[in-house]
Symmetry: C2
């Protein structure tokens, strides 16, 4: 039976879940050792830059996933299909609000990490892709530019709310409201 984590690439998604669950500071190396099953030395062998490099790898992995599964489809696919696809992918990715957005969490986390650029890139990219999709869908430039950030904000806020109240119902309701915002 193969090991769960046998190389650097295998570790990244596991690291992502750990950072999501415990936060950047809360994810101590000792905890990471436990949850990944990797030894301390293997961890530093794979990530010589330590915890910062681990988090950076996670952010890159998340960014790639969104680029491939959300952003690109929004810009190249049929607009209506791509939007519906976004909502369903987002719902399952964030487990209807039970799983937080690590980028959003890092954004609120302020000063403790050097990832401001990555965080900004993720959100501006998402908004830009969404805005283009709404434009291609027939919204005016004004309305598309207004709706895109509001949809992203609604999703992020719904994660906060679902987390705070332990009620995933808020999440699906917010996605429905977001879909309304994107209509002509």
């Amino acid at each position: 039976m193969p090991r769960l984590v046998a190389e650097r690439g295998d570790a990244v998604p596991v690291l992502g879940e750990i950072f999501r669950k415990y936060g950047y500071d809360g994810a101590s190396i000792g905890l990471i050792v436990q949850e990944t099953g990797l030894g301390r030395s293997s961890l530093y062998h794979f990530f010589p830059g330590g915890k910062e490099e681990m988090a950076r790898a996670v952010l890159e992995h998340v960014d790639s996933w969104f680029e491939e599964n959300i952003f690109t489809p929004l810009e190249t696919g049929d607009p209506d299909t791509a939007l519906a696809h976004m909502y369903s992918e987002v719902a399952s990715y964030f487990r209807s609000g039970r799983r937080i957005c690590i980028v959003g969490a890092f954004a609120l986390d302020a000063v403790r990490h050097p990832f401001a650029r990555e965080i900004e890139g993720y959100f501006t990219r998402w908004i830009a892709a969404l805005e283009r999709c709404l434009l291609r869908r027939g919204l005016t430039g004004r309305r598309a530019a207004a709706a895109a950030p509001q949809i992203v904000a609604l999703i992020q806020g719904a994660i906060v709310l679902s987390r705070a109240t332990a009620d995933p119902g808020h999440f699906s309701a917010a996605l429905d409201a977001a879909a309304e915002l994107g209509k002509a």
Copy 2:
């Protein structure tokens, strides 16, 4: 000239700003000593429960502020006036998104603190007060129940977004969109 922080009550708002800026883990006691100007011993004299008690005091202070300035007016004042009041108070309280919501940040922070109950209370209280206001304003029960959490989510998400992109424009735009959600 009086000291900035001379008693426990004076310390709480300062502590709030520190937790907002650095997060719960990031706000080390050493940092708190520096920023408040209080000595270690005075700090522990005022807050024998240590950092946890400091954060709890901050959350209680925030909760009282919202109760008095937002929640109660929503339930007792003229609905239209109270709503407009909420948006303007929220905008200045969160400094148009440049200041984060400490309760929202703690909600995403997951496992590192024992404040889940307080966090849930804050958001459910906000949503309940808002829902009642919308009802009194003439929305159907269905629509009020749907719009209230969406408005709160939009505000929280706008804070995330403003923080991530360093663009306060997202915040005021989100407040406008939220106001639209609360119309019949």
